[in-house]
């Protein structure tokens, strides 16, 4: 009894004290893959990134109190939908972050729209999030399939990889990546000979790889991600596909994938990304903090995790400017209105369709001999300026774009 009274008194006092400083209590959710093939590129690492962003923001805005909840969508759209509904309805979550797996992201996109909350997606790739399925409640932060196709696809065709066969993850993301890359290949004079779709999270690629081999295409485009990409690259080596003269194009390769493939297998891969931990001093410093927060020395953060950090930071800035998080549409509108500026992606902006704009880079994976320290994976081949890196605003078919 006594204890309860004291507690009540303290909280009353706190409430009084903070009322003047306009206390803001927010709750954000990190919905990600905690246990499966994308857990390394998002997962707990994304939660850690969100916590870093909150810490950085609250330092300057002591009147903010931001709680984080996190959940595992298991790469199943129905679980993602269910969890998002519950977070918004019961747990009073204001915004959801990360959501790798485009299928789940598109589902959560609908939930956020219907409940007028916010989705700041970092992990999903499908360019439909800012195209046909775009929403006034969604910001797509880190990268997308159009950008990947435009970077890696174009570079490979220009280097003589003119005939393609796709090995595609059979869901929203794979389809989008295959579609966007095919368009780029054909636009640059290449030809797509065929494709085969494999289920998400496949362990045995042998029969798909044999079909790719039989196609005699010069390039086998891997329109998959995470564990699927790792497995297909490894098993292609087992069946002597690269020795047979065909080359593999990892259309979406994360630094976590390179880490688990190892440089001897991954060397020479060309890939497009928007963030690499060893590129600037600011990135390296952040990576160190992230490792401490994540409690995993030696692990290196991916662009998805960096995107979660930057996204959370910008979201909080918009809420601070609005002084309210209640109206999701208004918050996203504010996010689009304010220029973005963070230590990882630098200065940038968010377009009317929800697309965050920043530079993209074409990297090549180093040879083992060139790598000087742990995690020293990439060298930069080219920088694609923000204006060219993403799909032109009027080509996406987003209903938010006027004209």
């Amino acid at each position: 009894m006594k204890k309860a009274f004291v507690l009540a008194a303290i909280s009353a006092a706190l409430a009084c004290g903070t009322a003047q400083a306009q206390q803001m209590n927010l709750k954000i959710g990190v919905l990600t893959d905690m246990s499966s093939l994308y857990a390394d590129l998002g997962g707990q690492g994304s939660v850690a990134a969100a916590k870093l962003a909150i810490a950085d923001f609250v330092k300057d805005h002591p009147n903010f109190k931001v709680d984080v909840v996190s959940g595992d969508h298991q790469n199943k759209p129905d679980i993602g939908t269910n969890m998002a509904n519950q977070w918004f309805d019961v747990d009073k979550v204001d915004a959801i972050f990360d959501v790798p797996n485009s299928g789940v992201a598109l589902a959560v996109n609908e939930v956020a729209r219907s409940k007028n909350k916010v989705l700041v997606d970092s992990g999903a790739a499908s360019s439909d999030l800012t195209g046909a399925k775009c929403s006034p409640n969604t910001v797509h932060w880190t990268y997308d399939t159009w950008m990947l196709a435009n970077g890696t696809g174009k570079a490979i065709v220009k280097n003589g990889g003119t005939t393609w066969f796709f090995l595609t993850a059979d869901y929203a993301f794979g389809h989008a990546l295959e579609r966007d890359t095919s368009a780029v290949v054909e636009k640059n004079g290449g030809k797509v000979l065929g494709k085969v779709r494999h289920p998400l999270n496949t362990n045995d690629f042998s029969s798909f790889l044999l079909q790719a081999q039989a196609s005699k295409a010069k390039v086998i485009g891997l329109a998959n991600a995470g564990g699927d990409t790792i497995n297909s690259i490894k098993q292609a080596a087992e069946f002597g596909i690269v020795k047979g003269g065909q080359s593999l194009a990892g259309l979406l390769v994360f630094s976590s994938d390179v880490a688990s493939l190892g440089l001897p297998t991954a060397q020479g891969l060309t890939l497009t990304a928007t963030w690499y931990w060893d590129q600037t001093d600011a990135n390296r410093a952040w990576a160190k903090r992230w490792q401490a927060e994540r409690n995993a020395a030696g692990k290196i953060p991916t662009m998805v995790q960096a995107g979660v950090y930057a996204g959370v930071l910008h979201y909080l800035k918009a809420v601070a400017a609005l002084k309210s998080a209640a109206d999701g549409k208004a918050v996203v509108a504010k996010m689009k209105e304010l220029p973005t500026d963070d230590p990882l992606f630098g200065k940038g902006s968010i377009r009317a369709d929800g697309r965050k704009l920043h530079n993209a880079y074409l990297y090549e994976v180093k040879k083992p001999a060139e790598s000087k320290h742990a995690g020293d994976f990439y060298k930069v081949l080219a920088t694609i300026p923000a204006a060219e890196a993403f799909r032109p605003l009027n080509e996406g078919g987003c209903s938010l774009v006027k004209g």
Binding site: P77, D78, D89, G103, A107, E110, Y171, A172, L200
Partner: protein
């Protein structure tokens, strides 16, 4: 001949109905009050799964046939319903009927194949057929593969009542659930139901009494599949998504578990079982994969120690029929 078989079963009938009526009224009352205290979306899911489990129980509890592939009817009904509502633009009641009819058709085909074998084989065949249709759902265009059918509109019931309102939706689900529950109760206590129970107890004897048991079994199978379909279709409208989870084998296992926990062959058992299992999943969601382990442990415990299930044990203790 038939009267000889049914007479002893019917004799016990009048005494047991009162406890069932009271229990039904309590259940209905709870479900009417509950949404004011609990998350309605969760309750709607419970009712969908309770109906699913009741439909499944019709088969295992009253005919003694263990179908390990009931996700097939649940999941496919939900796909067809979602497709009908989203792409064909049907009103929700028509979409649910479309899903239900699909399940009935699938139940007829699968039933014709499966009842050719008994016992364990029956279980394996139903499981394998369901898995075949799972792979079909994975590849078919209209199901959306891994993405499922998302953004299913709830629409307007009869073109009038907007189901976008949670409470309207809740009332619809409640009516569907209670209606189907009463229907199942009616089936079980009809002469048809008595024959089913006779088959469960001793099929050879039922055959020797002149019953075409295969035909009875098939009818029960189709009925069970149809009602499972109603549950799946309703769930698609409630959650506005149809996905692979509903058609995959763990879903078949889950409905077995719900029924087993509640009590095989008890009319209220599946409802309690569905409530217990879903609450567990809901509460334990933060611990992630342990849910699977706990479900397994419950399975093992039920089989080894509580084969009557919760309701079965209650009925035994209080010597009533539930």
């Amino acid at each position: 001949m038939e009267q000889v078989a049914e007479a002893p079963l019917r004799a016990a009938a009048p005494a047991r109905t009162r406890s069932e009526t009271i229990a039904f009224l309590i259940m209905a009352a709870i479900l009417i009050i509950a949404p004011f205290f609990t998350y309605p979306l969760f309750l709607m899911q419970v009712m969908c799964f309770a109906l699913f489990a009741c439909a499944f129980n019709l088969l295992i509890g009253y005919v003694g046939l263990l179908s390990f592939g009931h996700a097939l009817y649940f999941g496919w009904a939900s796909y067809v319903c979602a497709h009908a509502a989203k792409v064909w633009g049907l009103t929700p009641e028509l979409a649910i009927i479309a899903g239900t009819l699909t399940a009935a058709g699938l139940g007829l085909i699968a039933g014709l194949l499966a009842i050719r074998r008994q016992g364990i084989y029956f279980a394996m065949i139903t499981l394998a057929l369901a898995q075949m249709m799972y792979f079909f759902a994975l590849q078919a265009k209209f199901t959306g593969g891994e993405d499922g059918i998302q953004g299913v509109p709830r629409g307007k019931l009869f073109g009038v009542f907007d189901l976008g309102h949670t409470m309207t939706m809740y009332v619809v689900v409640l009516v569907i659930f209670l209606g189907c529950f009463l229907l199942i109760h009616r089936i079980i206590n009809s002469p048809f139901g008595e024959v089913l129970k006779a088959i469960r107890e001793n099929e050879a004897r039922a055959i020797s009494l002149g019953y075409k048991t295969d035909r009875y079994k098939l009818m029960a199978f189709v009925l069970s599949a149809t009602l499972a379909g109603t549950a799946g279709a309703t769930k698609a409208i409630v959650l506005q998504i149809a996905s692979l989870t509903d058609v995959n084998w763990p879903m078949s296992g889950e409905v077995v578990l719900m029924t087993l926990v509640g009590g095989l062959g008890t009319i209220f058992g599946p409802v309690i079982g569905a409530f217990v299992i879903l609450t567990m999943q809901y509460k334990l969601a933060p611990v992630g994969e342990w849910v699977l382990v706990i479900q397994g442990v419950i399975f093992v415990a039920c089989v080894l120690l509580f084969r009557r299930g919760i309701v079965g044990e209650l009925a035994r203790i209080f010597k009533i029929k539930l």
